[in-house]
């Protein structure tokens, strides 16, 4: 069972990700609405997997990805963002994220992305 932390400033997106998760595979240990909350939950729960929005108040996702990777380089981070340019995707991957899913996404796209992430494939 993988511990999952969901980070997004939209409660609708947080709940959508919650609903989409395969409960036999993922245990959601926290829901954060910005990078600062996310880091606190990350340090408390040591999740294996994180879904990370980028455009958030107080602390954005790029800074949060960098901070999480510094704490645990093995964490598998799936960036889930509306920012659809190639450079943003490259930036996130170079910081250590393992995948990028562009909003809007279907339930199936998210499930596949999470499953591929934990199976060690690039997303």
């Amino acid at each position: 069972m993988y511990k999952l932390l969901v980070v997004d400033d939209s409660s609708i997106i947080r709940r959508k990700i919650e609903r989409c998760c395969d409960v036999k595979r993922f245990n959601i240990v926290g829901l954060a609405q910005n990078g600062i909350e996310a880091l606190t939950l990350f340090q408390t729960h040591s999740p294996h997997v994180v879904t990370m929005d980028l455009t958030m108040p107080q602390m954005g996702g790029i800074d949060c990805v960098a901070a999480m990777i510094r704490e645990n380089k093995d964490v598998r981070i799936l960036v889930v963002s509306a920012l659809a340019d190639v450079e943003t995707g490259i930036q996130a991957l170079e910081l250590g994220a393992r995948g990028f899913l562009c909003k809007p996404f279907s339930d199936a796209e998210l499930k596949n992305a999470l499953n591929e992430l934990v199976e060690g494939q690039s997303v």
Binding site: D9, S10, I12, K16, P57, A82, L83, A84, D85
Partner: protein, 149 residues
């Protein structure tokens, strides 16, 4: 704004509704509107844009459309808080997707969500806005783009 630039936002709106619902969305012909009378429905999600393009992109819709869109997304809670969240998320998604065309320098803010009449929205009166009408189910909404290019 060029036709190709407007199309970026047309495609963004179409893409959002296609991913969020089984019902077809229709996009009306974009038109110019003076900023002295900004268009707004019941709820509005506003994104500030900086970089080579500066301005505002917003998504505005009536409560009834947003309520049905929430339900299409699997949400049973159609409270004010959730409706405001949704209108901001739609604006954020359409604006963020525009980066695929405008590039990494197209910097977008976190959304600001408003409830209420058009008087709550203030745009530069020296500019005009492009209104992109959206028709979904029996309801109307709009994406409004006001940018210096």
């Amino acid at each position: 704004m060029s036709e190709s630039a407007i199309k970026v936002f047309v495609d963004g709106a179409t893409n959002y509704f296609l991913h969020s619902s089984d019902e077809d969305v229709k996009i009306g012909a974009p038109y110019l509107l003076e900023n002295t009378s900004p268009l707004a429905f019941d709820y509005t999600g506003i994104i500030g844009v900086t970089g080579p393009q500066r301005g505002t992109v917003y998504f505005t819709a009536p409560r009834i459309l947003l309520k049905h869109l929430l339900m299409s997304l699997g949400e049973n809670d159609t409270s004010n808080a959730n409706i405001l969240d949704l209108v901001g998320e739609v604006a954020n998604t359409i604006s963020g997707n525009a980066r695929a065309e405008f590039g990494h320098e197209f910097m977008i803010s976190v959304p600001v969500m408003l409830e209420g009449p058009p008087g709550n929205i203030h745009l530069p009166e020296s500019l005009r806005s492009y209104v992109i009408p959206i028709y979904w189910k029996a309801y109307s909404a709009a994406v409004v783009v006001c940018m210096e290019l």
